[in-house]
Point group: C2
């Protein structure tokens, strides 16, 4: 079984030393979120995730969820339900939720750190509380007063859980094709009918009620994505006064058999005239749903990060223990039968790649969290706008890159174990299987890439990129003479310039041929991720040097940054080459001639 | 469930049009292997693998092998045993084995094609007959006459199967640490005692006897890898006259629970004074074992290729059927609710990447097979030597690159299915799980990389690279004015030059610091693979243009080559950058400071 210890030192380094939350959060009105409180929350989150959730990770994988065909009931793996009760008891579900609905109102950036721990400890379990956050946001922003009153308190407390019911068998990405219908009843109620698939936590035994947020079509709806409305459909009916009534006509038809996250209930949900209420405006369901989706996308990015962290921890421990072959430069432990494999350059390559992607990715993700807080609470409207542009711009990068890197890190970490990584015993193969979902759900990597280039760069005219570019330029100017950053600032400034040039080139090409958007998208996304990470690594080195961290920690940051710049950042050359080649090599082959 | 149709057209194109086996094989004395016979063998292999093996792929994954703790017996999944009986009946095990032991003596390159089909159809099943080939070669080359007489006929016919018993719990890569003992008995017999792990097909119900080739230490053995001897230890004792006696003291202690290849029996084998015979010279076991290992490494490369092919076929079919979103340049099927996803540039990127790696990789693998034949049978000693150098050089590249690309292609193919790829129903996740073993067994990618740089480049002074470089140079000279190869020959010649420069740089650096070998190894290996593929793609285009293939097929080769050169080959820039950065960024961080 793989182990997990929350990397508190690095988490605190990212928050306090790199991102400076000790001054940033009070400036946003979060006077409560002083260093002492934040550290206490993280300590407690570490204790809970390490001792309660992490030991259930392998159990969940082995047992999976069970579905009773007769009743539609879903039983979660041994211990999951009890862990959830403890989670609710401790108040974790409402950590960052508004105080007016019983939440603790702590900053999102703190919630991001706690979420990373949950995902490292037990990704499958973490999916049960996850969707409640999205449902909370959708209802808070778009719901009527009585809906907020009735649904938000139990969602915030975690007494009830939530779902997002979007996908249908014939449509996932293209929700404009969806067929689920909503027929008006009396009293502002609607009868929802249709089949939804891939519904995370659609049914389970952890909570007495489940609040489904469902996309469906009204009778008079225009076709396509402009005819979709959002409904709230509880498992047990709830009236306008909050009275819980009888069972609604929604049931789990079956569970999917998946590659991983076996402990997570992925349900086919049948709505058979289930009673619900319209949330927000008719036909505006897609935009309301994006409220949930953007938060969920950042959350899935954290899943990639969490899995990478756990994979790295275990690969590192194994590489220090496993004795195999002698160092190329002569025995390092002559008294032992062989050297630990961490002496071998290629094992170090894999470990350092993970370390660079995890620690750099951590700062990138937490920064996005801080920008969510800033967009919500900054006093200056220009600062709010700038933060919002950064969140919009960074969301597809955080989601896609952290999950692609999650695939990569779980790959390297398993590889460090050799054949032992392939067997269940060490838990490494579970991490790899669990990671595989993260580049698929909440929008595939390809969809994130289209969102980045098509919407964030072209439609929003690169506002987020400009804001980020200004941060990079400021940093490079400030540190151009800093000897601790020699070899980092120059290449970073060059890459930032190249990023701008590539952006202009893609925009120009797209104006002439819309296929250029899709052709550039994936490589542009990954390119952006690597340059973003270069910035955070340079800033991490600067922050470490200025901190009172021990010398070993500083050396870790310094050497990993050097490794990143010299051994990982050159991947941008490959992505830039692909971007520059344009759409022709992708589009010119007739679909009929793809077979060999 | 995923489907499989043998890509006969492309296989024949690779054999006949690109590699020219119709003239090459008769020149090697294989007069029997004319076009008609080869094509008939491939047709029959296609029929068998498509109709018998492919349908059992999902069954094997779902059921797995079962182990009876009381008797040690292993039961294979439903249908596996019957399929094996048909395989033996049809004579497939001896396809390329020497006729003097009952084999058909066909060229190895033909065996490679048949092997690719088996691996596409059912990788887990394919592991049962696989090790018999290695055992055959080891006994043929190093065994005594009576051993050849007694063991080879049943191995060649497939009546018995073989194993390679190398790995022990504390040693895989570093076999010098192994502890299994061999005590001399009378009559030239030895009693073998020890525990071997990860033994593929170590126990099963398909054949009445299993011939274990076992590495163990004689009582007087020097320590380390120079004190290891090779023994043949049958499951049922066999005397020098070939009489099969009672059960030997070797038994399966348990089966491993693995991420994939569930249908393959991966056994812990306990030798408890099991009777066996020495094969070859005392203490020369390691070099004798390499006879088996090199063939097995090429075979595992074919496994990566086979999985990639099946993954691509299914992703392509799905991408043509699945209707989702409209093309960026306007509806392509206005009468349908959405366009097939193959119109989207990013889906094409994934499909074309697979197509480029599969079809290019196929020629690369078959060429290695033809070189095995050439090394064995060429009349001219210089030609044999050159072919042997090419096989030695290409073995780590074929093994590592085709398996790394297998991971990549099964990743892309699953990604084309979106969330549907993650559930068992479509079979794509099985392909990804099965592929994950291939970069681990028979030497991890890191070990292949060390073999390439440390042994094939430095120790053997790059004889294979020189031979391959001459092929590339000849081709570029010959086609420098060929308009069909515009945009290919120039970049290929440039890359070949850069490859040479990088090789010299690595050799120079390694002379000063042995850690540079390991530091460069992985990136040098992948770099070599991509340049090798560029050569085979350029040759494929030339061969297609000169052939009477239909225009659509020629367009497929031409456009995929363009895609490869413009969108995949730029990866060499990242690898070259990493190689040039040297060992310092990998080696300078103290192992104690890897924790964040």
């Amino acid at each position: 079984m793989s182990k997990y210890t929350a990397p508190l030192r690095d988490m605190r380094f990212a928050l306090h030393d790199v991102l400076g939350i000790d001054t940033a959060l009070p400036a946003l009105g979060h006077e409560e979120a002083g260093r002492e409180l934040v550290d206490a929350v993280l300590d407690e989150a570490a204790r809970f995730t390490e001792s309660v959730l992490a030991p259930l990770n392998e159990v969940g994988d082995r047992e999976g969820c069970r579905h009773d065909k007769a009743t539609g009931a879903v039983t979660t793996p041994t211990g999951f339900k009890e862990a959830y009760a403890q989670y609710v008891e401790a108040g974790w579900p409402g950590l960052t939720a508004p105080t007016e609905f019983g939440g603790q109102g702590l900053p999102h950036v703190v919630g991001f750190v706690q979420k990373e721990m949950v995902d490292s400890a037990n990704l499958a379990w973490g999916n049960f509380p996850l969707l409640g956050h999205g449902a909370t946001e959708a209802l808070r922003q778009h719901g009527e007063d009585w809906q907020r009153e009735v649904f938000l308190k139990p969602l915030v407390s975690g007494e009830w859980t939530g779902t997002m019911c979007l996908t249908e068998p014939h449509c996932g990405t293209d929700l404009g094709l969806l067929k689920t219908r909503a027929e008006p009843l009396d009293g502002g109620r609607y009868a929802i009918s249709g089949t939804k698939i891939f519904i995370t936590a659609g049914e389970h035994d952890m909570a007495p009620n489940i609040v489904h947020l469902v996309l469906a079509r009204l009778p008079d709806a225009p076709s396509g994505s402009k005819g979709i409305s959002l409904f709230v459909v509880p498992k047990f009916r709830v009236d306008r006064d909050g009275n819980v009534g009888e069972r609604n006509a929604v049931a789990c038809g079956s569970l999917e058999h998946k590659m991983g996250i076996h402990g997570s209930a992925t349900c086919v949900m049948n709505f058979d005239g289930a009673e619900g209420y319209l949330v927000g405006q008719p036909h505006k369901g897609m935009s309301h749903m994006f409220t949930m989706m953007n938060a969920a996308r950042l959350a899935v990015g954290l899943q990639g990060l969490g899995l990478s962290e756990r994979a790295l921890q275990n690969a590192l421990a194994y590489s220090r223990e496993r004795l195999q072959s002698r160092s190329l430069s002569g025995p390092k432990l002559p008294g032992k039968p062989a050297d630990p494999i961490i002496v071998h350059p290629d094992v170090r390559r894999m470990l350092l790649t993970c370390k660079a992607l995890v620690e750099g990715g951590r700062v990138m993700a937490y920064h996005a969290g801080l920008m969510v807080d800033t967009a919500e609470a900054a006093g200056d409207p220009a600062e709010r706008e700038r933060a919002e542009a950064l969140v919009e711009f960074m969301t597809p990068i955080v989601k896609a890159c952290l999950t692609e890197w999650g695939i990569e890190c779980t790959y390297h970490a398993l590889q460090c174990f050799g054949g032992h990584g392939y067997i269940a015993e060490h838990g490494m193969e579970q991490l790899a299987r669990d990671a595989r979902i993260t580049t698929l759900y909440e929008g595939t990597t390809g969809i994130q890439a289209l969102d980045l280039v098509g919407r964030k760069i072209l439609k929003l005219q690169g506002a987020g990129l400009k804001a980020f570019g200004a941060m990079v330029a400021d940093f490079c100017r400030e540190h151009s003479g800093n000897p601790a950053l020699a070899g980092l600032v120059g290449p970073l400034a060059d890459k930032a310039r190249e990023w701008e040039e590539l952006t202009v080139a893609v925009a120009k090409a797209a104006a002439a041929n819309p296929e250029e958007v899709g052709a550039a998208s994936y490589d542009y996304l990954m390119y952006s991720g690597y340059v973003t990470l270069a910035y955070w690594w340079a800033r991490s080195v600067a922050a470490a040097e200025a901190s009172d961290q021990p010398e070993g920690f500083k050396a870790g940051k310094r050497e990993t940054a050097r490794f990143y710049f010299q051994r990982v950042l050159p991947r941008t050359l490959a992505h830039a080459g692909a971007i520059r080649s344009g759409a022709a090599p992708l589009m010119s082959l007739d679909a009929d001639h793809f077979d060999a």
